[in-house]
């Protein structure tokens, strides 16, 4: 699984991207976030404020209950501010 972090979330995790292999029971976005929180205290901190972290699975917006699979590209970022 490839994980990407954008904007200020990148400074929280200290990395823009990482390859991870979470255990088999990590099958949803929500479970993946919990697992990543254990690796990155900064990510855990950002998760504490509800609704601040948005997720995309394979470049489509995803909800906490959406599935994640080995080989997926999963991105986490704050609400977008373009335009």
């Amino acid at each position: 699984m490839r994980i990407l972090y954008f904007a200020w979330l990148r400074s929280k995790t200290g990395t823009a991207s990482e390859e991870v292999a979470p255990p088999a029971e990590v099958t949803t976005v929500a479970a993946l976030m919990q697992w990543l929180a254990a690796r990155h205290p900064g990510f855990a901190e950002a998760m504490a404020a509800p609704g601040v972290i948005r997720a995309a699975v394979n470049q489509d917006y995803a909800q906490p209950e959406d599935p994640v699979r080995p080989g997926d590209e999963i991105a986490f970022f704050p609400p977008v501010t373009g335009g």
């Binding site: 990407l4 470049q59 977008v80 335009g83």
Partner: protein, 149 residues
């Protein structure tokens, strides 16, 4: 057509190309977003737009396709920059062409409202010696809500 680029773009040339050589277009609406020199009481020195390469292009193409499905457009264009820009520089251009003005005006407003909440861009403002990530505005969510079905 959509384009995501670091280089500045020429609003004039982009708009001219949209209707060049055509005589069937009755209305062209456009919107340009520019870097402002202030945000609240802060003087802004520069703005850096980060984006999610790949997903950005995908989302912009989806947004444009959605507009073309909702309104009878004869042409449409989204150009969005990323990287560092100075006050006065254009960040984004959206333009729409249609036979009648209602479709062009509504689709143009839709494109920029939708893009604001859907396209994966993040703004970093430089103010004095510090940089600050811009927070999402509730007003942007409400503007996008107008177009939800």
């Amino acid at each position: 057509m959509i384009r995501v680029q670091e280089a500045p773009f020429d609003v004039c040339a982009e708009l001219a190309a949209l209707s060049a050589g055509r005589t069937d277009i009755g209305a062209v609406a456009s919107f340009v977003g520019l870097v402002r020199d202030r945000a609240g009481d802060q003087a802004i020195r520069a703005m850096t737009l980060e984006h999610y390469p790949g997903m950005t292009e995908r989302k912009l193409a989806e947004i444009e396709a959605e507009a073309c499905g909702r309104w009878p457009l004869q042409a449409s264009l989204i150009v969005h920059r990323y990287g560092r820009m100075l006050p006065g520089e254009p960040i984004v251009l959206v333009a729409t062409a249609a036979q009648h003005r209602r479709a062009a005006l509504e689709a143009c407003a839709f494109l920029i409202d939708w893009l604001k909440t859907q396209a994966p861009f993040w703004k970093l403002e430089e103010s004095g010696a510090t940089s600050r990530w811009v927070e999402a505005r509730d007003a942007d969510e409400r503007a996008a809500d107008r177009w939800r079905r």
